[in-house]
Amino acid sequence: MLDFVQQLVSGIALGCVYGLIALGFVLVYKATEVVNFAQGDLMMLGGFFAFTFIGMLGLNYWLGFAGAVAAMALFGMLAERVVVRPILGYPQFSIIMATIGLGYFLRSVVGMIWGTDDFKIETPFSDGVLRIGSLVLAYDKLSVIAATIILCALLYLFFNRTTLGTAMRASSENMLAAYYMGIPVKRVVSIVWAISAAVATAAGVLLAPITFIHSNVGLVLGLKAFPAAVLGGFGSIPGAVVGGVLIGVIESMAGFYLPQGWKDVAPYIVLLAVLLLKPEGLFGVHMRKKV
């Protein structure tokens, strides 16, 4: 039983990281119908920025965190401007390919600049543990869970309570109509990319104590975040986090209770099953096409 709870908590913590990356997908998808295959790589780049600020320049953790988030928000806008804006509105496949290309580029360039070693960021929560009876919970895992909850709440409020959030939802529903209503769609898209890159950076920095940061971490985790986003139903913010947590728990449990090899495929098997039974995901809304 104790093992089970232990696995559950570490699964949830890992799942929260997947959820945060999936949040990035969902934010961009919600606003622009673009699926950003480079989301994991944005997370990786954010982690490296934080590593540079904290590990190499010796800044305070929180200062470095904020600096990395700000730098990545700018980078997100830049990436949107250069790669995505010219093809906004074209078939999804083109955009998927463009973002795959962007991911390739980021991964290689990071490998060329920082090298292909593993890096670790020292955080205030690196060492401590919380003991409840005989249950041992590491602070770094708890910090990830707490940060995810806070970020989700903020984003949920942002989308449903602010004008900008409403503008984003409007431009996702019908870009042309949004233009007609006076929404500056291009700027909205830019801001969405900034937010999603910032969220990805937060995920990257929170992840750093759990797994090391290296240039391929974005690909590995990004590919786990897809099932998370799909499970939750692409386009649903709570769905992304719930999906992420589910994937994390499934992976963690499969690693503990099932024979070797199941750990890596279990999320995908669950994903395929969900896609077969409920293609729109757990929280997705099924819409009918009007002809």
Partner: protein, 383 residues
């Protein structure tokens, strides 16, 4: 320029629109037939890879280019073809038999993937095919009694008509060329047939196709099966060419490379698959060339513009460091993909068509002919 007057539908779907095509392709084919006897063995070996990649490219083109179903799982189909060949070879099954079995088995698996894919659209389909590829990769690594797991499998030279055909011999080259040739011919004929027209109809508008009486589900599954079968045939050849296969060869990376083949070549014509295959096979030798010669060239350019020898040698070592960095290939891939998507979504073949049209219409060519219309789509979610 040549004016072509089409008077009926038969003219529109002819395999060769006019006799010029027969001459051009005849010359190309003749050149390819004498190639192994005149070109160096290295180039011939690269050409074999071009043929195999182009075959996969044509297979993927049927699915992605003509039926509009994206797939990032074709490495898995290639793996199934390769592994079934390697497995059957152990029992001394003759080549023609395991060649056919490899392709057909992959086709059956493709149809099985096609059924669940019926309900999926766009991004969901991409992710489903990625998941399928991951599961296949894991099965290959774990099902040790058949696949030998991560140790990989050795593939013996193939036996055909009582002779051994080694992977570097001209005979193997001709075999691959024949497979590519038949694949392209078959595909062109498929696209002229009702099935091919149904594929295109589904790509352009599923709703419209359905209302025209096209059985969308049936044709989608067919498209998956045909595409997978072609990839499976290529997989058998791939296994023989490499003579050793292991699960880590058939990763997502390879699937992405196949997509790059049709993306860079152009997804709507077999020409595109061939051009894309040439591109993807040639990028490695090209990068090696860059690594060896680029620093010298750049330092030379600086030297001719008056840089002193110290600066020149500094430039040389800096460029050499960048050119030999590990990630260079990935970075170049990334940049090329992005540039093609942004500026030439029709690929190299599309570019060629534009150049051709420019000369055909010479003084009258208008830049706006191929200009993309800015489009603001309604949500694809409502599809």
């Amino acid at each position: 320029m040549r004016f072509m007057f089409k008077t009926d539908y038969e003219d529109d779907i002819k395999l060769f629109p006019h006799s010029g095509y027969i001459v051009t392709y005849g010359v190309l084919l003749a050149f390819l037939l004498i190639a192994p006897f005149v070109l160096s063995s290295y180039i011939v070996s690269q050409l074999v890879f071009v043929f195999i990649y182009a075959t996969v490219g044509v297979g993927l083109m049927i699915l992605t280019g003509f039926t509009g179903q994206a797939s990032l799982g074709h490495a898995a189909f290639l793996a199934i073809g390769a592994y079934s060949a390697a497995y059957l070879q152990q029992f001394n099954v003759p080549f023609p038999v395991y060649f056919l079995v490899g392709g057909l088995l992959t086709g059956v698996v493709g149809a099985m993937v096609g059924f669940p894919a019926l309900r999926l659209q766009g991004i969901y389909l991409v992710i489903a095919t990625i998941s399928f590829a991951f599961i296949v990769e894991e099965i290959l690594a774990r099902w040790e009694s058949v696949t030998h797991g991560n140790e990989g499998m050795r593939v013996k030279a193939l036996q055909l008509l009582g002779t051994t055909v080694s992977r570097d011999s001209p005979s193997f080259y001709f075999l691959c060329l024949a497979v590519l040739f038949l694949t392209i011919l078959g595909t062109l004929n498929l696209l002229r047939s009702p099935t091919g027209r149904a594929f295109v109809a589904i790509r352009d508008s599923e709703t419209a196709a359905r209302s025209m009486g096209v059985n969308v589900s049936l044709y989608k599954v067919k498209s998956f099966a045909i595409s997978a079968a072609i990839t499976g045939f290529a997989g058998v050849l791939f296994a023989h060419k490499l003579s050793f296969i292991s699960p880590e060869m058939f990763t997502l990376q390879l699937s992405i490379e196949f997509i790059i083949v049709i993306l860079i070549g152009g997804a709507f014509s077999p020409h595109g698959a061939v051009l894309g295959a040439i591109f993807i096979v040639m990028i490695d030798p090209f990068l090696t060339y860059l690594k060896d010669d680029l620093p010298g060239i750049i330092a030379g350019i600086f030297a001719t513009f008056g840089a002193d020898s110290v600066t020149a040698s500094k430039i040389y070592s800096n460029v050499a460091a960048i050119a030999s960095a590990n990630g260079l290939k990935g970075a170049i891939y990334g940049v090329i993909i992005v540039l093609f998507v942004l500026f030439e979504p029709l690929g190299l073949y599309g570019r060629w068509l534009k150049i051709k049209l420019f000369f055909q219409l010479f003084p009258l060519y208008k830049r706006a002919t191929f200009k993309r219309q800015k489009i603001y789509v309604k949500s694809e979610r409502n599809r």
